[in-house]
């Protein structure tokens, strides 16, 4: 039952365990101060240095948290620093690092970076042109992005429902804002931001409502208490049933699983491309991390009841994502639908409810994250006078004009399609293996069929790039600065290495051990 606080004791926060998150949040706060006090011409570079320094420092601190320190609860049990949390936090930090390299790129667009010079100006107005002329940049995206990263770090390690909800909001709100900040096609971008915000707020409400119902059921908000209540109840409790369903809705929305996927294509298309890469990779890592912890730790004893729902959602997600991707004519929308299909595959790992399921899901997230950032990085380089040339017809004959870039993009597409010797194959193999071992053979078979469907549209793009003749007034492939080049190289290296020598990362994902309870 609900316990009342009788005496106030100073909470012991275990700051050493929370250090990586604190560094990131600290950098975000410092970033706001930079906005306020640093002169305009120094602002952007200061923010970039600050952000990257914070990510590196957080990662370094993360590595030091090993041994006995790992596997303990911090902040009075609200945050769990265990193997999976460390692995997922590390993944978020590394992927953010790569995605932020794209944020910092300012050579591909003649007028500046990927973000609107001033978010407040009306699209197409005099003020906007004036801001562009003066070379104003929205360096506020850096602290916003850092807040989002901090929220993700907290999301994957949250060990009670309230912390998880707060983390969800901290990671989401900056994303809503940044989605509306595209430099080109600003109306589309603002529309996407509004859609994302409304639907996101709706799903957050679902999550919060579900959390309240689960609290009503178990009398506690921490995952241990919910798990303990589960062990003590027999039969179905409506509060548990509806609560589980509602928190699942919130998380399914965040990962973009069918039937909560409708926002993905619009938002991925409208958002500035570097941000799309960041959202598509890091947000999914964080949301799946939270989903794993919630459904394995708190609701693990209830898995026989929620697994059928996951089966249906996984099957629908794979099929809808793959089939609708075929009909797309816009590269960003196609990648968005492809990412929906990938979510279905990752769900196979989640619904296996085993250690293999946990490790294969985490491995998949790493592999998928790198390939996704890489793919969106390529999209940001193929441009015409109106900005990115995302219509599929613009990509015809790209392989003849710039074979290296087309080859790199082909690598990412092959990885999405799950062709051997790319990271996509190893990760699909891992989740299929976990799925079959977990008794989900029908889902795996649908997964295989969906892979074949998905291969069709990935291959279609390859055909278009290599076998078609280039259009006369086709787009140009801009030569990026070192930022994008490094990001692309990292993505390529990860995609190839995780395909050929996945051993070390698989080792890491397998040996992180179970969640602490």
């Amino acid at each position: 039952m609900i316990r009342l606080v009788t005496a106030f004791e100073t909470p012991h926060f275990s700051l050493a365990l929370l250090a990586p998150q604190l560094v990131v949040f600290g950098a975000a706060l410092a970033g706001i101060l930079v906005e306020a006090f640093v002169p305009r011409r120094w602002r952007r570079s200061t923010q970039i240095v600050l952000a990257f320094a914070a990510l590196i420092a957080a990662f370094a601190l993360l590595i030091t948290v090993t041994g006995d320190a790992a596997n303990s609860l911090a902040a009075k049990g609200s945050v769990a620093i265990d193997g999976p949390a460390l692995f997922l936090m590390g993944t978020v930090l590394v992927l953010s690092f790569v995605a932020f390299l794209l944020f910092a790129e300012r050579r591909v667009d003649v007028s500046g970076d990927a973000f609107a010079p001033q978010g407040a100006t009306i699209p197409g107005s005099e003020e906007e042109q004036e801001a562009t002329r003066q070379g104003v940049t929205t360096s506020e995206v850096w602290p916003l992005a850092m807040f989002s990263v901090g929220g993700m770090l907290l999301f994957v390690s949250a060990n009670d429902l309230l912390t998880m909800f707060v983390a969800l909001e901290v990671l989401s709100l900056p994303l809503y804002l940044m989605t509306g900040l595209a430099r080109r096609r600003r109306l589309l971008s603002q529309e996407a931001a509004l859609k994302y915000f409304l639907l996101g707020a709706f799903s957050s409400a679902f999550f919060l409502f579900g959390a309240a119902l689960l609290f009503g059921y178990s009398g506690g908000i921490s995952f241990n208490e919910i798990a303990a209540s589960l062990a003590a109840t027999a039969g179905l409790d409506p509060l548990l049933l509806i609560g589980t369903g509602f928190v699942a809705v919130g998380l399914f929305f965040k990962v973009g699983a069918v039937p909560f996927q409708a926002w993905i294509p619009d938002v991925y298309q409208g958002a500035p491309t570097p941000l799309t890469g960041f959202m598509a990779s890091c947000t999914k890592v964080a949301a799946f991390g939270a989903m794993l912890r919630l459904f394995y730790v708190a609701l693990g004893g209830y898995r026989w009841d929620w697994r059928p729902i996951f089966w249906v959602v996984a099957i629908l997600t794979m099929l809808v994502g793959s089939i609708l991707a075929i009909t797309q004519t816009d590269m960003k929308r196609m990648l968005a639908y492809s990412s929906i299909a990938q979510v279905g595959f990752i769900l196979i790992g989640v619904l296996s409810t085993s250690e293999a399921g946990l490790s294969s899901t985490m491995f998949y997230l790493v592999a998928y994250g790198f390939a996704t950032i890489g793919a969106f990085a390529v999209v940001s380089l193929v441009r015409n006078s109106g900005g990115e040339a995302t219509h599929l017809s613009n990509w015809a004959g790209l392989g003849k004009r710039s074979p290296v870039l087309a080859g790199v993009f082909t690598l990412f597409l092959l990885a999405f399609a799950g062709i051997p010797l790319t990271s996509g194959f190893t990760s699909k193999f891992a989740v299929f293996e976990a799925g079959i071992a977990g008794g989900a053979l029908p889902v795996v078979i649908v997964g295989v069929l969906a892979s074949a469907i998905a291969a069709f549209f990935y291959v279609r793009v390859i055909v278009l790039m290599f076998f078609s003749d280039p259009a006369v007034d086709g787009p140009t492939v801009v030569v990026p600065s070192a930022f994008t080049t490094v990001a692309l190289s990292l993505a390529v290296a990860a995609t190839v290495l995780l395909g050929i020598l996945p051993g070390p990362v698989l080792d890491l994902a397998t040996n992180v051990g179970p969640f602490i309870r």
Binding site: P420, L421, V463, F466, P502, G503
Partner: protein, 517 residues
């Protein structure tokens, strides 16, 4: 020299050669071709050197074994080794690649792509297919099986005829679908091995003889067989082959039909039979029926073809039916005969595709109706074309006769009705080959063929060795059988069906030993 990694060398040399050829600068095309030819001859020499050390009577199942841990989390190892079956197919591959390179010397000039690419793809294909035949780890086999598609896809898509893009995609999608179904089977077999052995493995030698439950075994068999039936190809999964052959260059077709499709029948005899012996016996009636349908149906369709390449493709589908029939005869004669026929058919298909390619290149059309009276203008070319056709219709004295005869006799021992019906295929073969030859080479010469030059020196050097080997093996097939028989015996021992005793009436006693239980 026994410790020398022969098989790795055989696989890696062409792959490195492919890279080297691909990077030969523009303007030095001749150098690229010479380099490619040199590498392929080097591989041939290495193969001969390796084959010389092969001990047919060895007691171990595999020779030239290499084994290294690759991904230990999944029990995956880099394991290579060959038995007699794999050895003869690798030898066939090594022999055909130099021939194809010489025959395709000028084929890339009519395309918009660099000749370097074409020759690099030939070598890359050779390297990957070596790994397919030599892999004794199922995972490695699967990876090579899938990667093998990539060079063929580009060979068809970049250098083919008018319908090349469509044909390349159709080829890829059929193969991917088959491959993904195989993937489910491979993963499911791995999961089964986890249950049976405690630790999962992909090692072929450990998987053979696993006592797999009947229903599981049947499902696994179906998954494996489906992939190989698409690859082989068998009716009704064959429609991609005529399209691919019609669009491909002669060199591509030779490697595709001559070697690549043998992977399908190789997979049946090397994987389906020993891994799932009970299921293979259970499925044999259906498989044999499909095989007979392939033999007769494809032969009938071949008669009606107006395009030479499509005709040769259909003849191959018909001949693959005979090979599959032999594999599922489960008799020494039938199975050894079918392996021999794989080699013989590789040679005859190569001869027919290459000579047809010579004709098509001169005329600029693959339509049979576009020719007439070639024998008067280019007698040697027409003669070689006839010889290639005769090899295809299994003229006694040529290798395919030995293969077809032993296969059918061996099949008769187990499936008399099926074998008798399949003999119709031989009759129909005479119809379609001679009918095609008559329309192309006999009769009055048409205006279009008047300018035909006779067989050139380079062309003769390409086709000559094939014809020599075909004739030699036709009279002296024993070496191949000596290599293949022990491997076939081992496989049949696992399948566990006794050799049907010949039903020769015994004088006096009146009892028929064939009817003994």
């Amino acid at each position: 020299m026994t410790d020398f990694p022969w098989l790795t060398t055989l696989g890696v040399v062409p792959l490195v050669g492919a890279l080297a050829v691909a990077f030969v600068p523009a303007g030095r095309e001749r150098l690229a071709k010479q380099l490619a030819l040199f590498v392929s001859l080097l591989v041939l020499a290495l193969t001969v050197a390796m084959a010389a050390q092969f001990e047919p009577d060895s007691t171990s199942a595999f020779q030239f074994v290499e084994q290294h841990t690759w991904i230990k989390q999944f029990g995956i190892s880099y394991s290579l080794g060959v038995d007699g079956i794999a050895l003869v197919l690798i030898a066939l591959l090594a022999a055909l690649v130099p021939v194809v390179i010489v025959a395709s010397w000028n084929d890339a000039e009519s395309s918009t792509h660099r000749p370097q690419t074409m020759f690099a793809l030939f070598l890359a294909l050779e390297g990957v297919v070596v790994f397919v035949f030599a892999a004794t780890d199922l995972f490695l086999f699967y990876v090579a099986f899938e990667v093998m598609l990539v060079p063929v896809y580009f060979l068809i898509g970049m250098f083919g005829g008018a319908q090349r893009s469509y044909a390349a995609v159709k080829f890829l999608l059929y193969s991917l679908l088959g491959g993904l179904v195989l993937l489910v089977g491979v993963v499911a077999l791995y999961v089964t091995s986890v249950h049976q052995l405690g630790t999962g493995t992909f090692d072929f030698t450990q998987l053979v003889g696993l006592p797999i439950a009947t229903s599981t075994q049947r499902w696994l068999f179906v998954a494996f067989f489906f992939a190989f039936a698409v690859k082989a190809p068998m009716v009704p999964f064959h429609t991609w082959l005529p399209d691919a052959a019609a669009a491909g260059t002669p060199g591509t077709n030779t490697l595709l039909v001559g070697v690549l499709d043998k992977v399908g029948t190789f997979g049946m005899i090397r994987l389906c039979l020993p891994l799932f012996p009970d299921a293979a016996r259970w499925a044999a009636p259906v498989v044999v029926t499909l095989a007979v349908v392939s033999v007769v149906y494809a032969a009938l369709v071949a008669i009606g073809q107006g395009d030479m390449n499509r005709l040769v493709a259909y003849t191959s589908v018909s001949h693959f039916g005979v090979i599959v029939l032999g594999v599922f005869a489960f008799t020494r004669l039938g199975d050894s005969g079918s392996v021999f026929y794989m080699v013989a058919h590789g040679l005859s298909a190569a001869a027919l595709f290459l000579t047809a390619g010579y004709l098509i290149r001169r005329r600029g059309s693959a339509q049979i109706a576009a020719f007439g009276g070639v024998a008067r203008v280019a007698p040697v070319l027409a003669g070689v074309f006839l010889l290639a056709g005769l090899a295809s219709l299994s003229l006694p004295g040529l290798a395919s006769f030995v293969g077809e005869l032993t296969t059918l006799v061996g099949s008769y021992q187990r499936w008399p009705v099926a074998a008798v019906i399949s003999v119709i295929g031989i009759v129909l073969a005479a119809v379609y080959v001679l009918h095609m030859y008559k329309r192309v080479a006999q009769g009055p010469e048409t205006d279009d063929v008047l300018g035909f030059s006779d067989l050139g020196l380079r062309e003769a050097w390409a086709i000559g060795p094939i014809i020599v080997v075909t004739v030699v093996l036709g009279f002296f097939p024993q070496p191949v059988f000596k290599w293949v028989n022990p491997a076939v015996d081992r496989t049949l021992a696992v399948v566990g069906l006794s050799e049907p005793a010949p039903t020769v009436p015994v004088s006096g006693a009146g009892s028929n030993p064939g009817e003994q239980p």
